[in-house]
Symmetry: C2
Subunit: 206 residues, 2 copies
């Protein structure tokens, strides 16, 4: 429908494409060449665009996510778990030199934080991969500061959980989880850039 396109700024052929890919549920058919799209479709479309534009997700990844959104028998935690693999590409285990050290340090960190239970979490593998890259490039200093970064991440996560707690609508909670997690990455990154620029400006530019 042209209204849907006008209401979201997404061109009609793209909407058709999203319908084909299952990102958008089909409208209620009124006739053979007519279907009704409600505010739920506008909302979903905005969600899809937000995930694609700022979440950096592929269409296929969003399709997978959306399938779980439409599946009624899924809780917030489960959906979040499903969202993880969508974000992080399978980080190859890496046979490099730094990989072993990285693995050890991640294990240590998890133990220190009491996160042992999460050793198999995909993000732990991502973490190991990033650390391995940094180590191979001689950035060992990062290791000494990991606890600081972990503390900052914990603070952000605590805020995430607090926001989620405020959401009473259970149906919307899953959306909040996905949006908060994925757009939150971009949001935090942007804030970090600004803070960096501020600190650097104080130190160097004056």
């Amino acid at each position: 429908m042209a209204d849907l396109s006008a209401g979201t700024g997404v061109p009609v052929p793209t909407i058709k494409y999203y319908l084909r890919e299952g990102l958008l549920p089909p409208g209620r058919p009124l006739a053979r060449n007519q279907a009704e799209y409600g505010p739920a479709h506008v909302r979903r479309l905005k969600l899809v665009r937000a995930l694609a534009d700022y979440g950096g997700l592929s269409i296929a990844a969003i399709a997978g996510l959306v399938r779980h959104l439409d599946d009624p028998g899924v809780a917030g935690g489960t959906l979040l778990a499903e969202a993880q693999p969508a974000v992080t590409p399978p980080p190859e285990p890496g046979g490099g030199a730094g990989a072993g050290r990285a693995r050890r340090h991640v294990a240590d960190l998890l133990a220190r934080k009491g996160w042992d239970r999460l050793a198999a979490h995909p993000s732990a593998a991502t973490l190991t991969g990033v650390l391995a890259s940094l180590l191979e490039l001689g950035l060992d200093d990062v290791l000494d500061r990991m606890d600081d970064y972990a503390a900052a991440a914990e603070a952000a996560a605590a805020t995430d959980v607090r926001i989620l707690g405020d959401v009473s609508d259970r149906e919307r909670a899953v959306e909040v989880v996905v949006l908060g997690t994925l757009l939150g990455d971009t949001l935090i990154a942007a804030l970090r850039r600004l803070a960096q620029a501020h600190l650097a400006g104080e130190a160097c530019t004056g």
Copy 2:
């Protein structure tokens, strides 16, 4: 050279491709069909792969970055400024409903933090775009918590600056800035996921 390929795990044709694209400086030619690649090339190649794999940068973006790396007359701060547009896609100004509110809130936040000077920073535009998306999807709660996220981001940035201060080698500092910023995003995101999973596990799964 096959050594270079063996030392990094990057296939030879890809190395050729990177040479073509200027991601990798050409080796010192020993003969018409022979060139010497040193440890600097191995390092650079690892840098390129790290930025592509975990930084999410396109080849073209890395090429732009690398041009500045090879340019001797560039300071860390300048390079960081150059790195910003590479990471964040040009976020369309957005004529949506939430755009106005988002802009106002970002301006308020910058003022509160004393970051007024950074209003034109590309990350400020990204921030506005993300907020606008969140607002249009009814996630107003995030606004009330922005200061918490900003605090977490500040903490991370402070750690960044501290690490950078430990780096004495001026030549390597620019690499640290790029790596720390881009891979740091992935690193912090991974840590945040883990912290989220930990907190959610406490609250729900037990």
